[in-house]
Structures are given as structure tokens and as C-alpha cells.
Symmetry: C2
Subunit: 417 residues, 2 copies
Amino acid sequence: MALFVMKFGGSSVGDTERMQRVARRVVEKQDEGNQVVVVVSAMGDTTDDLIDQAKLLSKEPPLREMDMLMTTGEQISISLLSIAIHAEGRKAVSFTGWQAGFRTDKEHSRARITDIQPQRVQAALDEGNIVVVAGFQGISEDGEITTFGRGGSDTTAVALAAAISADYCEIYTDVDGIYSTDPRIVKNARKLQEISYDEMLELANLGAAVLHPRAVEYAKHNQVRLVVRSSFNHNEGTVVKEEAKMEQGVVVSGIAYDKNVARISILGVSHIPGVLAQVFGTLAEAKIDVDIIVQSGVQDGKADFSFTVALTDRERALQVINGIRSSLPFDEVTSEDGLVKVSIVGAGMVSHPGVAAKMFDVISKEDVNIKMVSTSEIKVSCVIEGTKLNEVVKALHTAYGLDTESQVFVGGPQDRR
Amino acid sequence: MALFVMKFGGSSVGDTERMQRVARRVVEKQDEGNQVVVVVSAMGDTTDDLIDQAKLLSKEPPLREMDMLMTTGEQISISLLSIAIHAEGRKAVSFTGWQAGFRTDKEHSRARITDIQPQRVQAALDEGNIVVVAGFQGISEDGEITTFGRGGSDTTAVALAAAISADYCEIYTDVDGIYSTDPRIVKNARKLQEISYDEMLELANLGAAVLHPRAVEYAKHNQVRLVVRSSFNHNEGTVVKEEAKMEQGVVVSGIAYDKNVARISILGVSHIPGVLAQVFGTLAEAKIDVDIIVQSGVQDGKADFSFTVALTDRERALQVINGIRSSLPFDEVTSEDGLVKVSIVGAGMVSHPGVAAKMFDVISKEDVNIKMVSTSEIKVSCVIEGTKLNEVVKALHTAYGLDTESQVFVGGPQDRR
């Protein structure tokens, strides 16, 4: 007998029929001799509908009240799913976040879990129940209802799996698992059998929206064995764990891209260190995340530097910088959109030099300029113009031997990546 | 400075505009120098919609999960109303039933309040907040979410008013107050300025659905001063309290009717006491309420008796009785619908004989047969055929001097009622 946490997102429980399908799926798992905890998100568009209602009443609704409002979405899901499981002739019991023992700090809309006291979950399991837990929510020390922010249901599932020492935490989604790249762009993208936490983190952060980065971090920290699989079929899915088995000769596991990118350039800067500190300090205060930062050559004692922010943050970032302009010694600030960040990710890179050079080579053969570069132990990212994104991703996918129909060993020249 | 509990039902907060109107109304009350707690129900049809969703999944959803589901309705209302009050520039904080301290027994779907610990409500008031509390819900000793059943939001308001020693508990509804009878039938029905708890209880039980009987009982027991008034205008409403001021010569305060009535007759019964015990014992076990019971004359050592149940319970009641027939010495069971129960209610009756005789006289002058009669200290009820209901109510309203345009003293002959 194994203990499973199964997490289903909003689209998996979007209507009555899907809810019934999830109920049967969960019952099946119990029939195989397992104990089962299910974590669910709000149904379909419920969360967005609730936000819309609040926005009709106020442009800036208080976060505490938004948490009070939004948590009803998951509460509706858990009760309906429990009812559907009962209709299948099984015992089920639903718990809100606070009932399941999720203690958090006081940061409404983006609370962090401080502690989990899963006694009620454990007791209900021991009594033979399928336990259905509301994702995304907890309770603060003061008894206030809090939420974890978007993607928080993944975190609920992983954290609960850790707290009750589950054998597996299965994340059910609308794709079969983690792919080597977006199958909408590359038709013969391969489904990965296994992937390491670190690789998954890079992929998650780079726009492959299957798993929330925070959930992956939590899984890594607690060594929770994650499985990403489809709620619409019984295919095997991808296992995310500490040491993923590497396929022969595959140094790059996946290729990710992110279209939500804008480049901001500050030109003619005299005192680089002071300016950098002030610009990024002010952006951080405004809660604008900066990704890649590049400084270009010095001329006449002045230098230029560029950085990327989310495209959706561009206007705010420009406002922030123009707001501090009077006190800053720079000539001009410009911004650029229509960009995309393409990344190759793979734990095998560390021991295989030349991986980055091959990337630059492939991109340049597509006649595309590389505007910025950033690297880590297990990834290389390039910011390029977005117009030829599909061609670049396809070419990289082939070059690193990821196409399912022709799995070729790919070495590469002995340069530094 | 006075402390008000203001309760708004589902239709008063049915959409964004109405929610905003309630917010302004509440702010107005605070502006007059008062502390304000608001109790709200679920918006419009939310509760029914949730029930419909559950019924799609199961014919008999578990009550625990139904409570989990239904309580989201009020939770949505309290958060949206708080957001609307914030938009008016005031501090507001919402509490679910368990946050507001409503402890109940474990009876899901019809829990009774065992204790209220209103510390959080009190603290939030002391900090200058308008406090918004979810009606109809609480928490059991085991941390299970419970509901009070329909009409439970009135009970929440009254019980909370008692717990925090509020000066007034105002029940806002879609009518101006308590009327001497249904204004849809009698155009010049009079709005009552005051009414006693006991009279209100009779009216509430008799189908005047403005206030839930349990809430009135709770108010009487805790001497909470209730005000029933409209959420759509600023008219004065009706005060419900222990000793209502009696208007000169008015012995009957109101006339109520109930169309949800069926008569069941058991004919040819040999051993009346044993049969009565068995029939009503079995009906009580099946949770079918019996109202009026009448035994008619004995013939050949056998008697007939009749009783009324809710029309909606008729089929079940017949099944129950036929189910025990084999062990019971009676000849036949019949039932009759198309009936209505008309009642006159007034604390002044006790000291004014002849009130009942006048009622029988008025009804017979309308050429309507009286099928059953039942009396208490402050009411007389007659079950009649429903076809002439409107004429009977109008005639009674006039006869007891309740028409607003011609308030005449009505004495009556010196018979016993």
C-alpha cells in the first residue's frame, strides 16, 4: 500500500462531467490498494469570475478580503468532488486549508506556509476516507484566511505530501508530462521520463507553466517524488526527482521559451555602480523582477547597460526609472519589445563543454541576432527577436538530439559555454 | 452611540448595485455615530445554484459536504460587501461563522448554536471597523463547518446581537415591516408600529415569511429588540419586543394564511388512544410535522380523526400511515388538498371574548365551510377551502378594524372564542 497525493487543476474539474471523471480516477487509485489525498483548485474560471466581481466594486480591493473571496473557489471544488466520490460509493471527506492544518504567515495573496499540522488529514485517511483538500489556502496565526497566490495549489499538494510522508505527489494537468520543448512548436518533442528538480526549476521559471517553481523548490527541499501526468489519459507522465537518470548522450533535457520579455536600456551612464544600485533598488521596491542584466562597452567615460523585465511590467519599469532620473547621471532610457528568451536546460551541461557555443551557432545559422545572454550551471538563455522563435526552437531541438524519431548523440566542439 | 446589528437577506445583496446600496446604508448608520455589525446571506440565487450543482453529482449528497458547499455563498457575500464598504472609504472586516465565534452542535444542515464567542467581532468593532459576518453558519466542537438551515441568517443576527449586547437588531427585507396581513391580498393592510414576540412568533409560524420563527424565539429569550424594515427605503419599520403598545381597541394585530396545508383523515378507528400514539409517533420519527388534530364523533364504537400536515409532506405522510396499517385497527385513510389555514393573531384576544365567534361568523358569511379549528392564547386558526381565501382575508381584515382608512373600534358579542 502506497500513499498518494493527487493534485488536479482548475481545468480538470471545470464542469460536472470532469469532476466525475476525477472522482473515478481517484477511486481507481484507491482500488489499486492505495491511500489517497486529493488536492484541487477552483473550478475552471471561478477564480477569475470572483476577481471580476470584486473589481466591479473597487479598483483596489483589500487583499484580506480578496483572500476571503477567492478561497471560496476551492471550497466549492472540494465539496463537489467529495460529493462525486460519495456518488461512486466511497467515503470521502473534504477539508479547507485551515482544516487541513496549513499555517501561514500574514501576507495576504502571497502567504508562505510556516507549518503544516495534518492530524485531521491523517485521521480521516486512517478511517478509510479519500481526503479532499482545498489547494492554495491556509490560515495565519491570527485566524485570518490566507492564499498562496497563483499556482499555489501545486504548493499545497507538495507540502502536504511532505507533511504526511506520501510516496508520490502526482500533479494532474492537461499535458502528458514534461516535454523537451513546447509540442505546439516542435511536433516530435519528446516526453521526458525523468527530470531533476533543478532542471524542472529552470524549465518552470522559463515559462513552461506545467509546474509552479515554488512547488518544485518545496519538492526539492523535502525530497518529494513528483509525477506530472495527464488527467485525460493513463500515460505514464514524467517523474521529477533529485537525480534523474540521464539518457545516453543527452546533455540538454529541454528547450524553453518566454515571450513575456522586454529589454530596457539605460544609455550614457557615468557612475555605473551607483546608478545600478539606485535603479535596481528602486525597481525591487516597486516589486518589478529584473532578469538578465548586461553592461556594454565604455565610451567617453560613459557606459550603457540593459536589462530585461516582464513585458507586462515594462511601462511601470519605465515610469520608475524616469521618476528617479533627475537625481541620476544618465543620458537616455529606451525599451524594446517583440523579444523572446530561449533557453536550453540540462543537468548534463556541467560536464559537457561546447553546449553554449553550439546554441549560438544554431541561432546564428537561422540569421537571428542574439541580444543578450545569461548562463547558469544547467542552462543557457539567449534573448532574441521573436519573429523567428519557432524556427530557432526547432533547430535547437534537432541540434541537441531531442527529436523523438532521430535520437542522435550530440557532442560539440571543445569551447566554453 | 448605539450598537446596531443590521441583517440583509439574499435579495438585498443580489447584485453589485444592491451590494453598493447596502454598503452606503451601513456607512450612513456609522455616520450617525453608531457601531455597526452587518450580517448577510448568500447573494440572490447562489444557494439554490450550489444545491443544483450538487444534485447533478448525487441524489443524496452527504450533509457535511453540503454544509461545506453552501457556506461559500455567505463567504462570497461578506467579502464583496466588505470590499464595497472599503470603496466607500471606511474600514470593514469580514468574518465567517467560525471566525465570528459561532459554536454549534454537530447536526449538519440544521445545527443549533451552543455558544457564541464574539471576541474577534468585538475587537474589530473597537478598532473602528464595520464588521461583516456571514449568516447561517458556525463550527462544531470537532472543527466541522455547519449550517443552521434556511432562515438561519436571521438567527445569526439575533444571536450575535444578544452576544454583543447590541441595542438594536435590524432585519432588512423587501417589505416595509410587519403588516396586518398580506398587502398583495388586502391593499389597505396596515403596517404595525410594534408587535410582541409572541404575536410575531404566531405570524412567523403561520406563513408570514418575513422573520424566521427560530430567530424570533431567540430574540424573545434574550430580549433582543428587533426592527423589521425595508432595505429599499428609509421608512420606519416594525419593532418587535416583549410588550408591544396596543392601539386603542385593536385586539387582532394581524391575519396570516398558509397555503401549504393538507388534511389527512383516518376513518373507523377502534382504539383511539393507541392509534393516535402510534400514528403520531411514526410521523414524528419520519420528521413530519403535524399541526391541527381534530377528532370527530364516535359511531358504532368507532371514531374518525383528522390532522393537517404540510402539503409538501402529504405523500410521505400517507406512505408512513399505510406502512403501519397492518398493525392498526382502522378502516380507511384519506387526504384532501386545496385547503388553506387562515389565522387571526393578537395579544389583546386574551381579554376580549367573542373574537373567535366573530371569525366564524365572518367566514360563514362568505359562504365558506370551516373544516378544522385550532386556538391558542393569542390566535385562532381555521382550515377552510382555498378557493375564497382572498375574500375571507379581506373580510376578516375589515371586521377586526385593521383597514388603514377606516380604523373602527370592533367590539363583538360576549361569547367565548
